[in-house]
Symmetry: C2
Amino acid sequence: MSEEVKDITKRSVDFSQWYIDVVRKADLADYTPVRGCMVIKPYGYAIWEAIQRELDRRIKETGHVNAYFPLFVPESLLMKEAEHVEGFAPEVPWVTQVGEEKLEERLAIRPTSEAIIGHLYADWIQSYRDLPLLINQWANVVRWEKRTRPFLRTSEFLWQEGHTCHATHEEALEEVLRMLDVYRSFAEEFLGVPVVAGLKSDSEKFAGAVDTYAIEALMGDGKALQMGTSHDLGQNFAKAFGIKFLDQDNTEKFVWQTSWGVSTRLIGGLVMVHGDDRGLVLPPTVAPIQAVVVPIYRDATKEKVLAEAAALAGELSAGGLRVKLDDREGVSPGWKFNDWEMRGVPLRVELGPKDIEAGQVTFVRRDTGEKSPVPRGEAVSRAGALMGQMQAALLERARSWRDSMTRRPADMSKFKAACEGQGGFLVAGWCGSPACEAAVKEETTATIRCIPLEGGKAGKDKGVCVVCGAPAKHSAWFARAY
Amino acid sequence: MSEEVKDITKRSVDFSQWYIDVVRKADLADYTPVRGCMVIKPYGYAIWEAIQRELDRRIKETGHVNAYFPLFVPESLLMKEAEHVEGFAPEVPWVTQVGEEKLEERLAIRPTSEAIIGHLYADWIQSYRDLPLLINQWANVVRWEKRTRPFLRTSEFLWQEGHTCHATHEEALEEVLRMLDVYRSFAEEFLGVPVVAGLKSDSEKFAGAVDTYAIEALMGDGKALQMGTSHDLGQNFAKAFGIKFLDQDNTEKFVWQTSWGVSTRLIGGLVMVHGDDRGLVLPPTVAPIQAVVVPIYRDATKEKVLAEAAALAGELSAGGLRVKLDDREGVSPGWKFNDWEMRGVPLRVELGPKDIEAGQVTFVRRDTGEKSPVPRGEAVSRAGALMGQMQAALLERARSWRDSMTRRPADMSKFKAACEGQGGFLVAGWCGSPACEAAVKEETTATIRCIPLEGGKAGKDKGVCVVCGAPAKHSAWFARAY
């Protein structure tokens, strides 16, 4: 085993250290001299580019267009929506001076863009004909964090934020749920990460929202990660910023707004859901390199093997795969195997003199480690098929595991024991009171991740509140979370 | 003529106001309450997305990968390269506080990323095996500007910045010129903007560079616009940040660096090179909408015309064009014509009952205004062919005009007269002294835009310095500039 792989902490020994090790050894990100800010290295950024490409397509397919709003938010604008400012002010960096000159009004670095966008929308929207307004932005935002962790919680991060305006609350709510579902299907189909979609409790909602919806996934250590949010902003910002329209009935009304976002945090989720003790495991969709061809030779066979490996890599590439030929000198095939396993490349194709003689190549799957000979003539079609199989298998594996880690503790003592044991999602009745929610957090550090859409609303029997025993209003999913 | 078009100032009357009118009426950008910062509206941002897509492809094709570095640069890092800090410090916004807490060290918002990247590269590069390091970043940067103008000069702007390290100066210089040529060919082939590529004089070079190269284009008012720069950083930042590598000869050496960038300023250039009194004129490559289908009907023919227009739009779209069917109610076809002309859509396809009867459609080219009947069955192929023709025609038109506006004044009085007249590029001998360069600027406000690569270096006869009459060292291109 190479030094590199030996250097990784085992998942079972210290998941948190394992995560950091993988992020750094797989070259996804690095620390910087700016407190809480990371640099996303080329391999990590290529994953973000894959995410952007596909999510942007889905965002446009649902009728949205992109725009770019200013990085700075004048203090007076940020202050306009009371709950919003209360929620974000403590972590906002302030520009107070330019060059040697003190500014008359301080400028916040955007923690999110509701305020600056609200101000502009008030100008852009006049009539019902201007609605719905469906705009998205890809941008950097800053929320100063005391304790940071690459991708999961950094002071600066990259994200997309959608900001839409509608004529009615009904339409706005449709949009909120539509985008929540875009996130859900994107997470499952593209990232191979199963999620539960639902409503946040009031204590966990976005500062300034009427309601926040989220998708939540379960990480390899049994803790939950919020992967994306979709907010029903009601008319809160519309009233604060005066975003009004003349409706068809000739009366002036405030618009109904939504906002929704996912960030580079998704990459952290990918690592923690699929990774193993050998490093990163990437679903083929997001993998910057989907197949690596590793030639195995001695001096006598070098020329022949390298030529054949190059030909094979060319064919796989022509077949539509993102392919790398690893013809590096001075490192052994074994070292290369470990290196590409660390980086999570889905398929390794080994090719040696014996393979050539036998008219075959050797496929090694990253997800299962399974090794199998494949007839040379079938390499391209089998590799292509394998991409779809691995994509499905990773989702399935994550789903089975998530399901096995989703339990329904009968009472608070079992709830607590589960939390302190393996973790996972704990589904329990909740009476809806903030006091009971707070009691759970106090006793177990678990929080309500969401009240799932399915079953969360209907009048089904939800049993009793796991804390107070009163009739439950919701069936809530609790977990310790990132 | 619609109100909208009447509202535009004529180019010949006030070019500067015409520019602002087009930017706002074509919905490219808008002002914001943040001084000097604009919002790029969806139509303008779609142009930026087209630019990004194609330029990113070309940057990757030449071996570079993308990454993302922090927005903030700690003061101590920004201060490390003396000329760099001197050049940028006056326009840097400083974050001095987060929430209520004062920071121990001030953080600059990046005006460009040499400093933060230099610090990280010192860590990433150890050996000649780590070279060349070829990284690009798409990001926002901030340089506080007193006088701003959408796209051309704003306090915050979007750009890409390449940052590369090499083992030798020769290799670095090759990279500098390679990327300059990528910019040149991109400007010409994709934006239809002819440029002259060359070396900047010392007074105009990047703060911290050994040499700066640039591409320069001529705008519709005879003023020049710098469209992109490529810097030979020598070992200036390598020495300031300690970026060293162990070479094959086992000695430790400083790397040789380059950086290069283009920004959303390109959009301003597009507007000013191709636009006319009816608004924007977009080359088909960058046009968010390449063809708009406008149905012309009365009540009796509405259904039939709309159905046929929708079918046609579908066919054009299937043929690979970005197509919009303008079936808006309540506005006349004439109003629609003006609206799409304002937005610079390359091809308008008109379709009325008479066209349907005659088995034809009517094409109207945005660049020439030429109107021609086209047999219905040939609409898709002719539209496709027209895209290539318009792309070539726009470049050709801009090139002829640029060439006609490039003159060689025999002496300073003719130089001055040309500057005060139509402007344009003035090609003149320069002895190389900063004093003569300053004298030209003082007398005419023109500056040396660049010393073209071709002819700029060789020992050809360059005549005498237009200012002092001494033998010319360079044949320089002067112009008044944005």
